[in-house]
Symmetry: D2
Subunit: 158 residues, 4 copies
């Protein structure tokens, strides 16, 4: 059974709620799912996942430093080779009104650096995610799961 | 005696060499100087400094995540109020040919968020800093020290 | 109004539940209370608190490395002087049956290094804290609040 | 060619000097060697190494929190299985006169938790390591390299 990994950072719990909703969406399509705070996610977690979602609050128009630190740490040839073309999505929680887009972009750019394949447009929530945003996150999870399945059909290994 | 704090992150030692050169420049103007890796710098260090230099490698066109994490952590009203108008400078070490500008900008933007006053244009070194770059870093330290002194003359407290 | 700071690390949410219960106990005695994950707690938070509670899971018979890292970072003369004799308590969440005592001790020893005054015996929960453990945590918060008040009565400055 | 990984944390540079000396010892026996600060060492680094040395300053009679955090993060079944019986050594730098033994023990206990095989007694340096201590560190590296070779001879895989 393919495995999805939902990696997130959260202080207030908003991004955490989004992460759980994404996981629900993934699970609804029959994938094995793991939700993990970024501070104890390992290269092994990343390499053994078939699909990855990244969630972060927006601080200073960019992903949380702790999430950036994770990407910095993972910058190794063998890890990059392993991640190539795996489907991925991003989601962002934002305290302010109009922000969040730049933080989302900072994660999606990172996904591109890591050769991951964006499976669907990311989700931005202002403050505590309401039922509409939770639904969007579930759909994001569904899209991620579907991308994994299509990839399997096309005959990609693992 | 006014105090300068040189905060840096480094893996290979390049940014560390730059940090020491900046410190030398600051000291040459008679300021007390502390050079500290960002991973154990505290809010108290920041608040008790009269001038601050930030140094980081460039990863993915941005400051190191560990440095970003430090700024995220320091985002508190009282800390911001304390930092207001203190002079600051930035320096960046970069593995690649043309990069580094975006990482420098990422730090200088952060300095602006934190209401710090940019004392001089930052320094970018490609790879191991040679004698020219070391000299530029010393001058950066001198400029930082001079900004502190001018500020004192103008009658700003502390 | 005196301020209490509840600092914790948590992965699964068990220590987080304990932290919230301790905070409830403190609040019930009329203190202002802040609950904060250790990864973005600052020296300023620590120095401006009148009472502190530390909570951590037990990993390898010791507090979480992230909590230890916090103490390592705070090892500065001025911070120590500021913390002297402030009341403090500890609580630990433990996955295994008989463990947790060593992790609790590792935090309480640290409190002693930092010259904090232990206000009451710490609480250990095995796995997800049930209603009995939650009640113990609330009482721990009450004891911490009372220690602050007694200290004020005795005329200690802040 | 078997690979050795020297993982260390350092603030002042003392533990870093020891790490480099251990690496020299390992290299002198013909092993490929990587020296890496713990803050960007990955599970993949750990799993692809044939021998590992861990170095840390002693803070509060224990390894640095950042090193402990690394072990906490690596606590995963697959990682443990992979590390089983690989040779390992530890070294500690200590600011104070008689300390360091407890910090060394904290690392060696961790090696046992991770099923690593202690290849030789660890080295403790008080403050800046002098030539005698540097020599001890080189010998530690030699012992680590020899343990790898003996293991290969005995027919252990990888």
């Amino acid at each position: 059974m393919p495995k999805a990994l939902i990696i997130y950072y959260s202080r207030t719990g908003n991004t955490e709620s989004m992460a759980k909703a994404v996981a629900e969406g993934v699970k609804s399509k029959g994938l094995s799912t793991r939700v993990k705070r970024v501070d104890y996610t390992t290269a092994y977690d990343l390499m053994s996942a078939d699909a990855i979602a990244f969630g972060s609050p927006c601080y200073f128009g960019y992903m949380a430093g702790t999430m950036k630190e994770f990407f910095d740490r993972m910058l190794q040839g063998t890890i990059l080779k392993n991640l190539e073309r795996k489907p991925a999505v991003a989601f962002v929680s934002n305290g302010e009104r109009d922000g969040g887009k730049d933080a989302l972009l900072s994660i999606e750019n990172m996904m591109a650096y890591f050769l991951l394949q964006k499976a669907a447009d990311g989700v931005i929530s202002r403050g505590k995610p309401g039922s509409v945003k939770i639904e969007e996150c579930k759909k994001l999870g569904v899209a991620l799961a579907q991308a994994v399945k299509q990839r399997k059909v096309k005959g990609h290994k693992k």
